[in-house]
Structures are given as structure tokens and as C-alpha cells.
């Protein structure tokens, strides 16, 4: 259990945070993901499959939370445990977090976790085309928010 937790908890937590934008809910989701993982007693053929499963469950739980009405609309970003080293850093981070949840999740998975589009599609349960479209729209929104000098 400890091995699994140590291996995935940062990725799971950060993805959950990208969705719900506050520490408490991200921690709840992280806990639930691992509880599901331990309860499922699943065996995976490879680490990558296990990673995808963890990410997928994280996304599902986060989406469930976001579907609740208190999350359906804008929820402010909790910045208490965020450290910004420059104004630009803060601006970029806030711009990403201001994106609609579906966009910031694909941005997170693509740029932070480094997943290819095909794997993101598996994780978020959308088609590759839909993910590509979401990335396109997310980049467009970021450029609109941050100006054309934004480098993606």
C-alpha cells in the first residue's frame, strides 16, 4: 500500500487540485482514489496501466464533485499553499486555473503530466478528437487571457 501511495499520491493530488482548486477537496479526492485502489485489489499488467487507472478514477471523482451544484459555477482558487516566484508565474497559474475544469484538466495532463493526447482521452473518457479540441480551445483562452506573447 505504501509503495502505491508514495508512487502516485503527488500526481493524484495535483490533478485533483487542478480540478477543484482547493486543498481540502483535493485531499478528499486523493483519499477516495487510494481507498478505491486498495479496495479494488486490482492487478495491472504494467505501471502505465496502473497510472492511467489512478488518473481515470481521480478524474471521475473530481467530475462527480464538480457536478454538485456548489461547484457547477465559479469556485475561487485557494492560494493559501501556492508559492509564486514572480508575477508572471502567478498570472499564468491563475489563468490556467480560471479555465473551465475540462480545459484545465487537459492542460494539466498534457503539459504537467506529459501524457499524449491518446492517453488523456482514455483518462478523461473523451475521444482523441475531443481532447485535441479542448486543448485547442484551452490554448486559445490562455492566449486571450495572457496575451499573444504567451508561449505554449
Amino acid at each position: 500500500m505504501e509503495r502505491i501511495y508514495d508512487k502516485y499520491h503527488e500526481s493524484v493530488y495535483r490533478l485533483a487540485f487542478a480540478y477543484c482548486k482547493n486543498r481540502a477537496d483535493a485531499e478528499d479526492i486523493t483519499s477516495d482514489v487510494f481507498l478505491k485502489r486498495f479496495a479494488s485489489n486490482k492487478t495491472f499488467d504494467s505501471d502505465s496501466y496502473e497510472t492511467a487507472w489512478m488518473m481515470r478514477v481521480t478524474v471521475n471523482l473530481a467530475k462527480d464533485l464538480l457536478r454538485s451544484f456548489r461547484y457547477r459555477f465559479s469556485v475561487p482558487l485557494e492560494t493559501a499553499n501556492l508559492i509564486f516566484e514572480s508575477p508572471e508565474e502567478s498570472e499564468v497559474y491563475r489563468a490556467v486555473m480560471d479555465l473551465p475544469a475540462k480545459y484545465r484538466s487537459v492542460i494539466h495532463l498534457y503539459y504537467y503530466e506529459g501524457y499524449p493526447v491518446a492517453e488523456i482521452a482514455q483518462i478523461v473518457g473523451r475521444s482523441e478528437t475531443a481532447v485535441q479540441t479542448q486543448l485547442y480551445r484551452a490554448r486559445k483562452l490562455l492566449k486571450k487571457a495572457l496575451g499573444e506573447e504567451m508561449e505554449l
Binding site: 508514495d6 482547493n22 483519499s31 497559474y93
Partner: protein
Amino acid sequence: MKKIQQYCKVTDRIEHDPACKEEVIAMAKRNEIRTGGKRRGFAVGTAVAAALLAVNGGVGYLLYTGSRAQENSMVATGEISEMSNLAEQQPCVAQPGYAAMMQRYYTAKSGTPCDFDFTGWGTECNYVYADEDWRVTLTGITGCDWILYYFYDVEPLSGQTWEEFQQVFPTVGMRVVRVDGFHYEGTNETSTMPDQAHETDHGVWHCCGKAGNTTGRPFSEDGVTLEFTVHMSGSADPAQELGGMASIKTDFLRPFGQLAHTDIPCPYGGDEYASAVPQALDLWSITPFGVFYTCEPFASGLTQGSHVTHFGLDQPGISHAFEEAQVALEDKNGKTLDTYAISEDSYYGVLAEGDTAVAVTFLMFDHPWDPEKGELAIYSEAFDSDGTVSREDSRGDAEEKVQIRMDEPEKDDDGEIYWTETEDSSEMTFSYEIDMSKADRKQIIDITADEGGVPIRFTAEVKNFSAEILGTVESGQEVKTEQVNSYSIGLEPQDTPVKLVLHLQPYWSNAESFTLNTNFTVHDGSEADAPAQKMRSSVRVHNKARLSGTYTFGLGLYDDPECKETLEQFTCGEGDTVLYLSTQTTGHDTAKGETYSIYVKVKQDDEEIPFSLTPDGEKKTMQLIEDLPQGDLSATVTPVYAALNAKDSDSKVRVEVYYVPDVIPADHKRETAEEGFEYVHFQKAEATLLKEN
């Protein structure tokens, strides 16, 4: 320089609380599976001040007993209470004014605390109507496409009493008019200002009114700006009114109601009325504010007089849903033929005799319906004046066992769904969560999708929580007009919810917009074929990919690439005949992605001749010309190697070129060219093959 890596760096620094690890592992070891999580945040005070509510003719007003100071105190108390319970209290998210007011309204209405979060379902505003004695301020509007709640403050400027206000303004209403002039008829009616005791809040009365839409045309249609006028008529002669108009864009109205249509048998749809009602009457909108029903105009042809429909509804927390239900019967032009109101007995009667009419029904809840907290089931029965009952129950074994929830599809900023915005995107995805935990036998999911006569290719997948695919179906490549795709997936009972995902790819349409319909039905496939649970979505799709602008194509046929004089006559030589085709496209806007694939056919006296584009290439009756320059004045010369037939007489050789827009899915282009749809630009170049000497 702003870089996306800066997002990654900040994310790197987000630390996960190490204490969580021990907690999770300890819980896992105890095999304690927590289902809900310890949700924190968003403290909503549940103790609200008692309110006085009066409803009269569909418009009520609400006077809060609590002062502003008391309200603030209440919110603060709520926060402290939450803080004491939760060690890691998050900052409270401030609700907009309309949301708080709506909660109080429902609390007063039902007598039980309402904690439904209306944030995002309304707009705040500050429009003032005033004369020398009174100042009325429209402070907020909330609602959906069919019912609007508006909040206004009344301030007596000379210390008058409520009774005096009531005498001066005995009626109140809110007119809603589109900027294009369309008038929402139902909003024109004013209601009597109730004779109620009231409290003041620092000299201001807070009030609430309702404006119902009985036109069958949603408030947010086309995202237009609406003009709202709080209309207070006086008893004096001439009528005394407070003028002024608020122009508000309707983007605050959530599209929920348009997406959550559920097929429910119409009370008029029973056997005994089938011949009298040619159209299906099946459009229901369900929003947190109520159930709203409109139907297409129908020629009632009913001769038996009054027909009464009984509605019932199951939703925890909603006990008197039909307290204020109204039904309006209108002609096809929106003119109200008759209006019926029902009280708590939840019956209404409709006199639909021999006219063409639209029925509009309002079933307002006494508590907002929260889809997170349960399923809504509606049933109805109709019976005519001689007591014959035709019960159409949307509930049944199937529905009790299988529940369906639809995710909102992707929408653009303006709320419309774009099925193609980029070159590589031409499909939409709808997903439905189906709870089959109570299913005790195999379930069949029937799926149909259509786009008003132009069919849609689709694939459907059913996955479980772990994304394992339980069933798939594809509509295949064959696409023909005037055909509706209909396919089924069989599914064994599942312990956990499954997700049905439909990927829809509308076949090429040059329409500016069209309505996309998807339907699916879950039933158990038994001989008895238990009552079906249906879900239908109907969305307006703005088609960005349609062609626009003007196009110019040049085409020439030569017998020698170095000598570009148009070919008129030539003689067939040994082996393949080489024709040189010069194509040129100008005038289209490549920036919009309006590029083309160019297909070529060769015909000799209308007979298709196999040909290739290289000397030894495979011969086909139609070839795609690759690498054609787009939007370029320079012509491209392409050799065509055709095995022409020597004939005893002169024959016509024709090269046909089809410009197929690239927005058409790649695997449809060829058949699109073959069938020569009207949006395929077509050109031909002809020459005469001289007879063999």
C-alpha cells in the same frame, strides 16, 4: 515571458499533506471505504428568517422579516458554526443576492430550509424606477427559460405605509420583451398586490415576483437581449405607472432546461385520442424551478369537452409541486385561448375542442429540484368528461430499476454546440450515466440519432467505472439521406453505474444551423417489454463548417503541358492516352479552412474510363489529385493516363473535376464526390476524340 512551464513550476510546489497517507492506509487496512468524503467548504446558513409569502395569480411577493443587520449576523453565525465543526474551514463563497433571496423564497414557500445553490442561475442588477413618492429597484433575476423570479426593493420616499403603496399600485408584473419585438405573452399579466402584513428593512421592502413564459419559446432563445419592465399599475385614472426598462442579455439563463428533455407520454397520446392528435406531444423541460411542458400545435378535434390531466411527481423534498401549476392553451400564433390553474389537488382541466392549440404547462416546485439528490418521475393521466381514464405512466419497472442522467455536452461560450470548430473536429459527444444497480435482467439500450433528415454516423460505447468497455455499436460508414440510424446494445446487470457515451458525427450539411436529436431507450427486452425509460436530447447546432463566400475554379484540358492551348480535338495513340489537366482555384478563404480535395473522372461518351495519374499507376474510375495548391492563382498541370477506346466514329472525351470541401470527413469524401451532392463544385473539360482512320 509567460510560459506554460510556469504553471508546471507552481504545481510542482503544491505539497500533499503527509498526514493523509497514514490516515488513508489506516482506513484501507480497516477496510473502511468512505463513500462521501468529508466535504468542506461553502458554509450556507440554514436558519433563515421566516418570511411572509403571498401568491396571487402566479405572482407573489416576499417581505423579509429579518433586517440586513440580522441577515449579516445570520451568515456570520453560519460560518462560525461551520468553523467549529470543521477544523480546516475554507473561505465561504459569497452568494450573489438573487441566490440568497431565492433560497429564502423557497424556504418560506415550503417551510423547510432550502440550501440549493442558485449561484449562476441568475443575474444581479440595479435598475431604478421612481417617481416623487416611490423608488422601486429591480435588484436581481433568476430562473430558467420558462419561469423568471425577479426581486425588487420598494422604498417609500415619504414615509408611506405598505397599505398606501398597495392602494397606489394595486397590481404588479414584469413584462419581458425581446429586442426584436417578440413579446412573451404570459409575462404581460399583472397580479394583485397582496394584502399582507409586512416588515421593513431600513425603510425598504424586499419583494419577489414571478413571470411565466407561456409562449413555448424559451427566454434564452438565440441568446438575445430581453427587456424587462417591472410594471406597476395604479388605481388612479389615468393609471399611474413607474416607467423604465431594464435591458439584460439572457446569458445568465442556464441551458439546463433545453438539455434535459425527457420523453413522457402525453396525456393526449392515449389510444382514444390518437386519431385526434396527429403530432407527438412530448416536449418537457425540467429545471430546478419546475416542470414545463409545451407541445407542438395540434388540431385537437376533441368533441367531448373537458379533459383533465393529473400529474404526480416524486422527488424527496418536493411535497407540493403543483401548488401553482398553470396550463395555458394557445393557438399557433401564441394567442392564449384559455388558461387553467390548479391548486393542491394537482388536477387541471383542458378544454381543447376543435381548435389548433399549443399547451403550455407550468408545474412549479415548492422546493428546487436538485438532480444531485434524486430522480424526478412524472406521471400523468387524462380522462374525458365521461370519466374514461387514459393513464400514461412514465414510471414503471424499468424506470425504477434504471436511472439515467445526462451530462451536459460541450458548448461554446454562447451556449451553442459546435460540432466542428477546428479542421480535425467534426464530432460531438454526449454521455449518459445509467444506474443499473437495480436491474435484475439483461437490459437493451436502443439508440437513434438524426439531424432532421440528414443522417448521423455515430459510435456508442458503454463503459463501467474503470473504463472497461462493456458494449459498443457503430452505425458504420454507409450514410444515406432520409435515413435514421437505430442500433442496440445489450447489457448484463451491473453493480455500479455505467456510462453510455455517444459520439455523433453529423454527415455534411451546408445548413447554417440544424437541430440534432439523439434518443435512447432502456428496456429489459422481455416479451412484456416493460415500460421504457427514455432520454432525448435536442440541441441546436451552429454549423461553422458550412461554406461561405465565392469561389472561382479554372479548368483546362491540354494535350501537351508545354503548349497550353485548350484541347479541342485529338487522336488516340497506342497504349494510354495522356491528357494534361490544368486546375486552378481562386477566391476561397483558406483561413477559414475552406480547402478542397479534388477528385477526377474521365468519361468517353458518358462511359467512365479507368485512368491513373502516373504512367504505371493503378487505374481507377475516380482519382484524387494530391498536393493541389489552395487559393493560388498558379495552375497545376496533372497528367491523366486513360485507356481510351478506339471507335469508329468521333467520341466525346470529358474530364470531370469535383471539388469536395475538406470539412467533409475524409472517409466520406469519395462517396460525396461520387454522388455529386450540391455543395460539391463540379467542372468539366471536353474534347473530341477523332475516329480511327
